[in-house]
């Protein structure tokens, strides 16, 4: 209902050719702005922070919120008692969380979506910088379409490096050149119900949203295409300059979900990234014992490890190139010592499904311990078990060497053997 009302007001405003100047605002709003337009107006908060109270009248007049006036959101302010009767505000973060409830009063759908997104999960987990409504939408300057334009999309305020990578990618270049179908941030991640595309099959499903024939196209040349789509993230091939890594995912086989951080397991008690990667990090025996511990008799859930080839950073995940430049040489990943297998992490599900990565020694990929512990991940050639290589060499030596030895012995003993034959014939 609130949405319908909102739309109606905006339509009326648009039809009336809404004023874009502060001096054309209604008297009540002008009264508020008479103070709040003062540059540098601010108030001290209980925690020692300051809150800017300055509003640009001209900007507010252009914003989509101006038809509702100041009291549309600040109904708690009683003009007769203001500014004297202002309640104490604990801090800026607290204030933003409180004001988000006001936004939800009209934007019910978006608020509900936000509640199911990763940003809300981070807020609930106590992350002090997880975005609230006002983090992305400056409430007094909300412009129609601003969140959908390259230069004003709010995501880049926090994800600046990722946005830079995106802007130079095939998606960003197309979007900049006016191709509306090319995705901007929200096209893949959602606008309010922001999801973590790196969790599970999320990335693949997001890409398939537009690239509906991707599987059919890959099946024309890629053996086991379906499997590749499950265990290789799209950027691992479509961001060819990115560094790749193996992300082992702790998986709850009972709930079929990525497992949460195991309780009471020392290796996961530190912050993500506290264990190194490369040569350090969880070694094969530790990982083997970890799985045994998690799957001890009587454990409520069965835990396994699935694996996934991915790029190492979020920035690299956005460095997507045209398909013609994507990696299509199988050797890139299937040869021993490939770049992809030099970095290994293990991830557990954090708030909102965000993967929390811990470093793992790359030796787990080639260890005999891993036959059991990471049975769910194997890349032909690239992660082969060293012990089996040794067995193969022994088999080759035995298969050719023993006959060669036997043949030699036979040749050396030929006189003795023919002598016996002759004696037998004589006998």
């Amino acid at each position: 209902m609130a949405g319908i009302f909102l739309a109606a007001v905006l339509l009326i405003a648009a039809a009336a050719g809404w004023s874009a100047r502060a001096d054309a605002l209604p008297e009540g709003d002008a009264h508020c702005l008479s103070c709040h337009q003062m540059a540098g107006l601010q108030m001290g908060l209980a925690n020692g922070e300051t809150l800017s109270l300055h509003i640009s009248g001209d900007t507010f007049a252009k914003s989509v919120h101006s038809p509702f006036g100041c009291t549309g959101c600040h109904s708690d302010i009683e003009p007769d008692k203001h500014p004297g009767d202002v309640s104490v505000i604990a801090g800026r973060r607290t204030f933003s969380i409180e004001r988000a409830k006001v936004c939800a009063g009209c934007h019910t759908d978006q608020a509900a979506q936000w509640n199911h997104g990763v940003h809300a999960a981070l807020v609930r987990a106590g992350n002090p910088v997880a975005p609230l409504c006002t983090s992305c939408h400056s409430p007094h300057a909300v412009m129609k379409g601003a969140a959908e334009a390259m230069d004003t999309v709010p995501c880049k305020a926090c994800h600046g490096a990722i946005f830079t990578a995106y802007a130079a990618s095939v998606h960003g270049v197309l979007r900049s050149s006016g191709v509306a179908q090319a995705p901007l941030c929200f096209g893949c991640h959602g606008a309010h119900d922001v999801k973590v595309p790196t969790a599970g099959a999320g990335m693949k499903d997001v890409c398939f949203g537009c690239h509906v024939d991707a599987l059919a196209k890959h099946q024309q040349w890629l053996p086991n295409a379906q499997l590749h789509f499950t265990v290789v993230s799209c950027p691992a091939c479509h961001a060819p300059k990115a560094h790749r890594k193996v992300d082992l995912v702790l998986f709850n086989s009972t709930t079929r979900q990525n497992a949460a951080r195991p309780v009471g397991v020392p290796e996961f008690q530190g912050p993500p990234g506290s264990t190194g990667a490369g040569q350090t990090g969880l070694d094969p025996a530790t990982l083997f014992n970890l799985l045994r511990t998690l799957n001890r008799p009587g454990a409520a859930n069965k835990t396994s490890i699935k694996g996934r080839l991915d790029v190492r950073t979020g920035e690299e995940a956005h460095e997507l190139t045209p398909a013609s430049e994507a990696i299509s040489d199988c050797n890139t990943c299937h040869k021993a010592g490939a770049d992809a297998f030099q970095s290994v992490t293990i991830s557990v599900a954090g708030p909102g499904g965000i993967p929390l990565h811990y470093g793992v020694s790359k030796e787990v990929l080639n260890s005999a311990f891993s036959i059991n512990s990471i049975g769910g991940f194997y890349a032909i050639g690239g992660t082969r078990i060293t012990f089996l290589d040794v067995l193969l060499i022994l088999a080759l030596l035995g298969g050719f060497g023993l006959p060669a030895l036997h043949l030699t012995a036979k040749w050396l003993s030929r006189r003795s053997a023919s002598h016996t034959h002759r004696n037998e014939r004589k006998g």
């Binding site: 053996p223 379906q226 021993a336 991940f377 078990i385 080759l396």
Partner: protein, 213 residues
Amino acid sequence: MRRIYLHPLPVRIWHWINATGFVLLVLTGIQIRYVGLVDFVPFRTAVVLHAWVGFVIIANFFIWLVFYMFTDKARLYHPELNPVELFRGCLRQTVYYAYGMFKGLPNPFHLSRFRKFNPLQSLTYQIVMLFLVPLQCVTGILLWDITRFSKVVDFLGGVRVVDTVHVLIFIIIVFYIPFHAYLATLGRTPLEHYKAMFTGYEEVDDEEGEEAG
């Protein structure tokens, strides 16, 4: 000396398809597993060829199975159930290969129509044909389309477990093939058994022929 018809046509066809197929599977398998170190053919070609040859070998296995199930030749694969007899026969044959042959002593085993394999051969072929090859075929099919068979693969412990079994059998086959090819040269002449596997006829001593009768 007399000739006995020991290798019927279906067996010979099966044998040479198997031999060619396993050599191709080993070569493509090495190419797949050691890409970068070995580069006979492109990785993708090796994968596709490995899968196709694998299916030929699976079909060929059923030719073998049906032939032996529905003919009296099945007796060739009847296991020796007496462990003492089995051990004694294997030991006798091993001693011959390791010592007696060099001294010119006679082969303790004599060919006949229903005794084509010496005890060592018989034991080896039973293990290979009734255990290793079927297991290799099953793991090969699972690895051919892991997504389709994901539930079975997961039940067995995951792709790495299945692959390890497949590779272990591959290693045994790598050992077995040159050994098998060499042992086939230990007839009266080096090519005697090879020729027999084309013509179907083996030459046996007269007294052996009597046994064959």
